[in-house]
Symmetry: C2
Subunit: 252 residues, 2 copies
DNA sequence: ATTCCGCTATTGTACGTACAAACGGAGATA
DNA sequence: TATCTCCGTTTGTACGTACAATAGCGGAAT
């Protein structure tokens, strides 16, 4: 075990060095069966408990760790979810609201799509797995979701039953790379005829259009577009309690 | 000066007691001409510097304070803005992006509006000040903004030049109550004919619809609706750097 | 077998000290 | 007058110590 020693001459604070060090080891999954205690950190890195705690404090402030008095420190496996913005996972938002939901798979096949490939940042002729789903909440249509993934990463996904599963959870379960970088963008749109029919929207009813591109350590993992009914799914910010802006479905 | 002493027998940590104490005094505006230094806190509250710093750390984590080495602690006057979600002020977002902007006042008058009154939570026959503005960024129309405020609060606003001023800043300047509670909601819409013309939108182009209701200590201050061009104003979340979801205008 | 007690491990709180780094103003200097 | 240097103030970092509070485990007592 070659612990990278901390550089006491560096202008970077010791605790900050320790933080990046621990963050690395966290992402490498070294602590999946247990995070070191304060005492272990002080001895293995030869810093004071104060310094070790400052590093750990930063990590737990980022949501990567949860500490509990008497119990110890547990690694937050949903590191990724935590670090994302409010728009993270449509599936999870709906689930969190307690609305019964399901997915109807419209397409699941290998395709070539120049537009999606460009957004993924891969060759325009690259083969992609396209997963197209109609999402239902409370029995009524909520969103149309289309995800393109590079074929080599997504091949095992072709056999999965998608009707009740979140994409990222499934990726994680089968060891496929889950995005830890990327961006997403939300715009209003007039849905096309196909989507309008799927979502059972009247003419002249607008919808949200959510685009997302996700990378894993720099390599593209998914490109996704989602058309969401605006009347049933709203972005609500309640700052009475000082809460963060949040995405949540309205009551049906 | 009767400093509320801290209760050392309480199960609540000393630093937490100190935090709420300082937060109270902050909101009362006691520190507008200077926040006490670590040393002053330790002596006046008779705690260690460690404890005082823990309290201050919490406050600055909430965005109420900004500390700087060598300089001291400054009160963040925009406490309100900080505590809000990402959608806070359209004006400020555009300004932050460095886009040249202006407002064209379409209406500024005293009205009665049952719908707005209901949303404000006041009598449906109450007189309200309606401020309707077309917001321009980079010379092109960006949004149509309509704000209703109770007449008694907003009377002096009738004389203000609104072409370049943010509503909240103006409220604060004249001592009128600035909201510290409320909620906002974002949905997609097909703009009506009037708004479509104002925003120079083609038919079938959707837009964001932002509603906001703001209170000051429980009493309603404003009800506001904003129709925003979706093609020029987008909600972008970039989590490459772990940044929060942010609202910012796209480059024109 | 079950309950209860107490021990240990671990994090939280709170105190202390010392020095480093950075800002800003006072005073010296050109 | 303008600029530079020095020094005090203030926050940041880092060390130390001690005890409290809590969770979980094992052993004792019923």
């Amino acid at each position: 075990m070659s612990l990278t020693p901390l550089d006491r001459g560096s202008p970077m604070p010791l605790w900050a060095q320790l933080e990046v060090e621990l963050r690395k080891r966290l992402e490498a999954g070294e602590f999946d069966l247990g995070f070191p205690t304060d005492l272990q950190l002080t001895t293995s890195y030869e810093v004071s408990r104060h310094t070790a705690r400052e590093a750990v404090r930063q990590l737990s402030a980022s949501g990567l760790l949860t500490r509990e008095r008497g119990r110890g420190t547990v690694v937050n496996r949903s590191e990724f979810e935590q670090s994302l913005g409010a728009l993270y996972s449509l599936f999870e938002s709906v689930e969190a609201a307690g609305v019964e939901q399901a997915s109807e798979v419209l397409r699941l096949e290998v395709v070539t799509d120049p537009a999606a490939a460009a957004n993924l940042g891969v060759s325009v002729s690259a083969k992609l797995v396209l997963l197209e789903r109609l999402r239902l909440a409370g029995g009524a249509p909520l969103a149309v979701d289309r995800a393109w993934l590079p074929q080599k990463l997504a091949k095992p996904l072709l056999k999965v039953d998608w009707s009740r599963t979140a994409l990222y959870a499934e990726l994680a379960d089968m060891g496929a790379p889950v995005p830890n970088q990327g961006w997403e963008r939300l715009t209003p749109v007039m849905p096309g005829a196909v989507d309008r029919e799927l979502l059972e929207l009247d003419e002249n009813e607008a919808a949200f259009f959510l685009e997302r591109q996700g990378n894993r350590d720099g390599t593209p993992v998914e490109w996704r577009t989602t058309v969401i009914r605006g009347d049933r799914y709203r972005f609500v910010t309640d700052w009475t309690t000082g809460e963060q802006s949040q995405l949540r479905p309205t009551a049906v």
